[in-house]
Amino acid sequence: MQIKNWKNWFDEAGDMSRFAGRFFSQWFRPRYEVAEFFRQCFIIGYKSLPLVGLTGFIMGLVLTMQLRPSLIDYGVESQLPAMVGIAIVREIGPVIAALIFAGKIGSSIGAELGSMKVTEQIDAMEVSGTNPFKYLVVTRVLATTLMLPVLVMLGDAISLYGSYLGVNIRGVTSFQLFWTQVFDNLSFSDVLPAFIKSFFFGFAVGVVGCYKGYNSRKGTEGVGRSANSAVVLSSILIFIIDLIAVQVTDIFELN
């Protein structure tokens, strides 16, 4: 039983890798589903902004308020903007945005493609002269890959604004001073690795959601399971990618 589980696990991992490979072999070939890609960008990117923005705002505010007491203990309260800024830009911003994104988009892609699979809509597309992989998977994976970094950037900005409000709850800092303190303590090695890893987060969410949906088993239960496992797996992958990213940046001495 144990061995069979492992076998299934590896089987699925291999299958998913092949699925991702199929994405790479197809995305640059015509025909290009431009309109559908933009539609997906709109749904995946723009429509996720309120959720990502809200969580980012709260994280910025809460992190600032939580860090203040310990910084006061060390007598470096004035470093609060710098510290929160680095935490948000390097780690909190990308990871929180990606997790929220996985919850919202990963599950919706999993459920949407799952139900399309179950109700033969994917077959219908193929019959209608459409490559469903390109039309459904490539557009969605590209959209998640490209939209998450944009969401992360906007989420960072909103988080920093939340942090600015958090600083001002028990102290007075002008917006300009806050801004200068944050930027003076940031470097390219803080922004770029975080920005680059958010592409991978987006890709992981897109590929996992599409894979789970595309290979959904018959029945409504299968659809639910696809959506659920898409969220779980993409959340885990986000943390694994985060781990790899920090090691890679460490190797390149960008830390």
Binding site: F38, R39, C41, F42, G45, Y46, L49, V89, M147, P149, V150, L151, M153, L154, D156, A157, F183, D184, L186, S187, F188, V191, F195
Partner: protein
Amino acid sequence: MAKQTISNIKLGVFVITGLLFLILLLYMIGKNENLFGSTFRLRAQFGNVQGLTSGNNIRYAGIQVGTVKKVRILNDTLIEVVMLIETKMKDFIRKNAVVSIGTDGLMGNHVLNITPVAGTADLVGDNDILPVKKMESVDDMMQTLAKTNEDVAVIASQLKNTVLRINSSTAVWEILDDKTVPQHIRSSLINVRSATAKASRLISDLQLVLSDIRDGKGSLGAIITDSSFAQNLQAALLRINEVGADADTLAKTINSLTRQVQDDLDRGGGTANVLLKDSTFARNLRESILNIREGTDGFNEIMEAMKHSFLFRGYFRNLEKQKKANLLLKQ
């Protein structure tokens, strides 16, 4: 189709806003790291850069003017720091400006300080090498500071102890308050000195008498040549001699002591404190002064008694006669 265009606009705004923030972020960082805007290079050579690395800030008189481009080793004892400085600073930095490595705050990053120096010199050009000032590294400073702190702590605790003891000791305050003590000591010393002078004079007188007696002068020569009497007398003389010598050293010691006590009283501190720790000292001192006075008084009494003794009456009378004669001769 109208619906589609609206969502396109929203998507466009969304993406462009995100990218603008990224660009802003990168631009602000780049501005801090002097990636944009024109710069020129300056160099400085150190024996030890204390962990300065490329990207550290450079300040001219406290103003952010550039960043460290790179740190490279020229040879085993010389390390060169290449600086990127904003071009507009070419009008201000002179060739005699001194470069030093400091830290931003107590725990902050290393910074390179360019300090202007009084006196005229040409303005710097590209790739000039600026003179260097060795600064105490924060490490050394901290170590010294720690040691000093420890010493200060020890001293402070001892001082506190002393002060407490002085404060609680009434004897010391008595002595310190008593202005007559040094005077007493001085007068007693004068007494001691006069006593010793008297003693020495007495001894020389006695020697004279003895030689006279040995020579058989006087009516009582025969009696006095009694050997036992002579021996006793000799021992007494020796003892008297010793007393005189002791008194002499004692006088010296007490003399220096009084001077010190006087000094300490004038300055209100120093060894007097240590000396005066012993509360019994004052009493002893006073007693010993009294003793000395008593001793000298006793001596005088002995001398008087000797003068009136029948044995020496004649001798003293002669002596007085001689003195009178001398006086008459001098007159």
